[in-house]
Symmetry: C2
Subunit: 209 residues, 2 copies
């Protein structure tokens, strides 16, 4: 088996980067790091956004393949280097593991990690009085922009066919009117909403037009 | 193959429940629903928390097996009923799909869904002036309580051995001092932090004691 070198993009003091480095260390998989800073010229630059449209670390490069989310990277490493041990393929066992990845993306990232940032590293652009609504509007825009960037060049989010990426990402953009969020700037996303709606067996809910 | 009946716990107007019902409908998998409301006597009750420690829907019951997160439920259904189509087991392809599940848990849930709730359904207990810090502290507590409940009766989060659930959930609780969050009320979680630290190949980061 040819070893394709792994390059992990990291930034100082990032807990999400630590998760990946911890797992690489436990697996004993060799890798190189590329260290970034949080300036507009680096993680927020167009060049870096070509690797990760969210403008965040960690990002893992495996040859030409780029994976841009810490959870997705953990899944990749578990399946590529961990056999059935760290992420079994059995449906029930995999779901047990995924519950906790969901907890880490939700309560940990928007709870523990957020409190740490605000108390310890409070960035100039994120004052303590930022309201939940202001923060949510910024996140909503980042999510829609990330989808739009992908869907402008591919019909489906993850692969060449619908996957559970479509199931996970359809509902809230489709409920945009209830959030009073305009989808006019996201034409590729609007076209994709139509493709999901056209899937055999599609089911709607109140609030989706 | 014996058909085990699926029971999906839902609540009105929940986008996360819709994701699951949409996928069940597309897969053509029969199921029953159990409908809940958002009162303390229902979703927030001890009885329901025995099914889902977060006190949220959706929850999927498959016989005695209970899955409590919408993403984990999508993963379960894809692997149990969708063959390789909806969630392939190949490492790179699975990671592509997982990127988008992560986006839906992050930008969608704390962005789009949050804006919708605040503009359309604003609950009495969540005023618009709630700050990001207040919200984050509540989420941090919910995350730690959910982990503690599991770890009080099992050594590892998901299965009978360490999995990537450990990799995903270790770092931010371990950084609790930087967040000025006291782990004294979570003895089982503190013991588990020690077990993760004892894994061969463990790697630390600044801020973890």
């Amino acid at each position: 088996m040819t070893e394709i070198p792994l390059i992990l993009h990291v930034a100082p003091r990032s807990g999400n980067c630590h998760k990946v480095e911890l797992f690489l260390s436990i697996l004993g998989v060799p890798y190189r790091t590329a260290t970034h800073d949080y300036t507009p010229a680096d993680l927020k630059s167009q060049a870096f956004r070509a690797k990760n449209p969210r403008g965040q670390v960690p990002v893992l490069e495996i040859g030409d393949n780029v994976i841009w989310d810490s959870q997705a990277i953990l899944v990749y490493l578990a399946r590529a280097h961990g056999g059935e041990g760290w992420l079994p393929s059995d449906a029930a066992a995999m779901a047990e593991v995924m519950q906790w990845l969901a907890l880490s993306a939700n309560e940990h990232l928007f709870g523990l990690a957020q409190v740490r940032i605000m108390r310890r590293y409070r960035h100039g652009n994120e004052p303590l009085v930022l309201t939940v609504l202001e923060r949510a509007l910024a996140l909503a825009a980042r999510g829609l922009e990330t989808m739009e960037r992908r869907l402008a060049r591919a019909p489906w989010l993850a692969l060449d066919r619908p996957t559970i990426a479509e199931m996970a990402c359809f509902t809230y953009p489709a409920l945009h009117r209830e959030a009073e969020i305009d989808l006019a700037p996201y034409p590729a996303t609007r076209a994709w909403l139509g493709r999901v709606r056209a899937l055999p067996g599609f089911k709607t809910m109140e609030g989706i037009d």
